[in-house]
């Protein structure tokens, strides 16, 4: 383990903004993609069940 | 001979027609009828080889048209909806280039004679922009006299033609059939020609 304390870990030796900015952007981007994908799937499934009701 | 088997056409999510079968022997003609949007033009475009069908085959003399595209297009004379006339060019130039691009040369005298036969004498040097819809149609149909082709596919050939020009057109088709050619055309009106059948989509 490289870190003595949790606050050391958060500070990243003074590079906190850059390191967490990178990791955060990746996490955010992926989560956003997953959320959009889920919404897309739900939209199409709602449309499908609507079709069944019509028949 | 043209033979069509199991043809299915789809536009977007809608199926226009499916499992279409027919054969067209030489010296015969086929009229394709159907309501607006039934897929008449789509069928013609598939037959010409412009659109790929979802399903089915089109054979010309037993050969799939897409495998021998150049041979098929040598035998095919297609006059489409839009006409392929350049407004900036005069009828003579239009015919000269459209024949040239297909690899058929035409002498200026032959071009002039064909235009004359369709009643366009005196207008050979007028840009197409200044011609009426019927006159443009006549320029297009002059191609039938100049460009050899065993099978004619004509999309609405009688549109915008007056009585006299329609008769001329019918005579042309008759002559073509007598020579052993065949023709497929779309039209809403009955056509006074023998040796034909009608396909309703």
């Amino acid at each position: 383990m490289q870190w003595n304390s949790f606050s050391d870990f958060v500070q990243m030796g003074g590079y906190a903004f850059y390191v967490w900015g990178s990791f955060g952007a990746c996490a955010l981007g992926m989560l956003l993609e997953l959320w959009l994908l889920k919404r897309r799937r739900q939209t199409i499934l709602t449309r499908l069940s609507g079709q069944e009701h019509l028949q | 001979m043209l033979s069509v088997t199991q043809l299915t056409c789809q536009r977007g999510e809608r199926v226009l027609f499916q499992d279409l079968h027919f054969e067209l022997p030489d010296a015969h003609w086929l009229q394709i009828a159907g309501a607006n949007g039934a897929g008449k033009t789509s069928l013609l475009r598939i037959l010409a080889g412009l659109t790929e069908p979802v399903q089915g085959t089109v054979l010309w003399n037993g050969v799939e048209i897409r495998t021998e595209r150049s041979l098929w297009h040598r035998d095919l004379l297609y006059v489409g909806h839009q006409g392929a006339l350049k407004e900036e060019l005069n009828p003579e130039e239009n015919l000269f280039f459209s024949l040239g691009l297909e690899g058929f040369g035409a002498s200026p005298t032959a071009v002039r004679a064909a235009l004359q036969q369709f009643g366009l004498q005196g207008r050979e040097h007028l840009p197409v922009r200044y011609l009426s819809a019927g006159q443009r149609r006549r320029v297009l149909l002059s191609r039938l006299l100049l460009r050899p082709g065993r099978l004619w596919i004509l999309d609405e050939p009688f549109t915008a033609l007056d009585v006299h020009a329609s008769q001329l057109m019918t005579q042309q088709i008759q002559h073509h059939l007598h020579q052993g050619g065949s023709a497929i055309l779309t039209s809403h009106q009955p056509i006074p020609l023998s040796g034909g059948s009608c396909l309703t989509l």
Partner: protein
């Protein structure tokens, strides 16, 4: 019924691929999560501090995998496109379309993390380095592909046009990369090059590889999920959709 049968034979059929993809997604998603957590553990907690770059170098654990994936995904898209044009399989067009947004995301993340890495190391958010520049162009290629596909309504046409563009792009990518490098050596603007990565400790390499594998599994899972959506959207009216949708 006859139409859905026709589809079964004519194409590498969506009807049979749809449930298969559905079964594969959980495995890849789980792999992505496990590998990702392991990679983060090693990258953020175990790997030692770099002698020159301090803790700032830890950006490498997301930056390099994202860059790799963005290039790799474009090649896979080109592969599916070639397959689609050669064999007219409908599935390949859908796969290409499903991969593009994820590839674009990774290209963007690669640029973003590159900028955040460049600022503390070189003192600038952006340098006209050959790698950065060609990555930017790759991002543009992705955007072009997505824009072209989404502006054509007929899916069959959109697939073919997209496939052609992806192939033209993939021929151009090495030429662009080479030309940008040539241009860069001529101008010598940025004296720091990103290629000189610090000689890497084993733990760092392990962390990077784990993260790369995690991104890989993530990409597959997301692409499969997206291709399922695309299949449903395109074949809303066919029989198999009605049978499968409720499952």
């Amino acid at each position: 019924m006859s139409r859905s049968l026709v589809n079964w034979f004519k194409y590498a059929s969506p009807a049979s691929f749809y449930p298969l993809a559905g079964r594969m997604i959980p495995y890849f998603a789980a792999a992505a999560a496990v590998l990702g957590l392991a990679g983060l553990w090693i990258g953020l907690l175990v790997a030692p501090t770099d002698a020159q770059q301090g803790e700032g170098y830890r950006i490498i654990f997301v930056h390099v995998p994202a860059s790799w994936m963005s290039m790799f995904v474009y090649c896979v898209m080109a592969f599916w496109s070639a397959l689609g044009l050669a064999f007219k399989t409908r599935l390949s067009g859908m796969m290409t379309a499903a991969l593009a947004p994820t590839g674009a995301l990774f290209a963007f993340l690669s640029l973003w993390t590159g900028a955040l890495w460049g600022k503390p190391m070189w003192g600038a958010w952006w340098v006209w380095d050959a790698r950065l520049t060609s990555q930017l162009i790759l991002f543009f290629l992705y955007l072009g592909f997505i824009a072209l596909q989404s502006s054509i309504d007929d899916p069959r046409r959109a697939d073919k046009a997209g496939a052609l563009l992806a192939l033209v792009g993939v021929i151009n990518v090495p030429i662009i990369y080479f030309s940008v490098q040539w241009w860069n050596t001529l101008h010598q603007g940025a004296s720091v090059s990103m290629t000189k990565a610090p000689s890497m400790a084993h733990t760092m390499l392990a962390g990077m590889l784990l993260m790369a594998l995690a991104f890989w599994a993530y990409t597959i899972a997301v692409a499969l999920a997206r291709v399922r959506c695309i299949m449903l959207e395109r074949e809303l009216s066919s029989e198999w959709v009605k049978r499968n949708a409720t499952e």
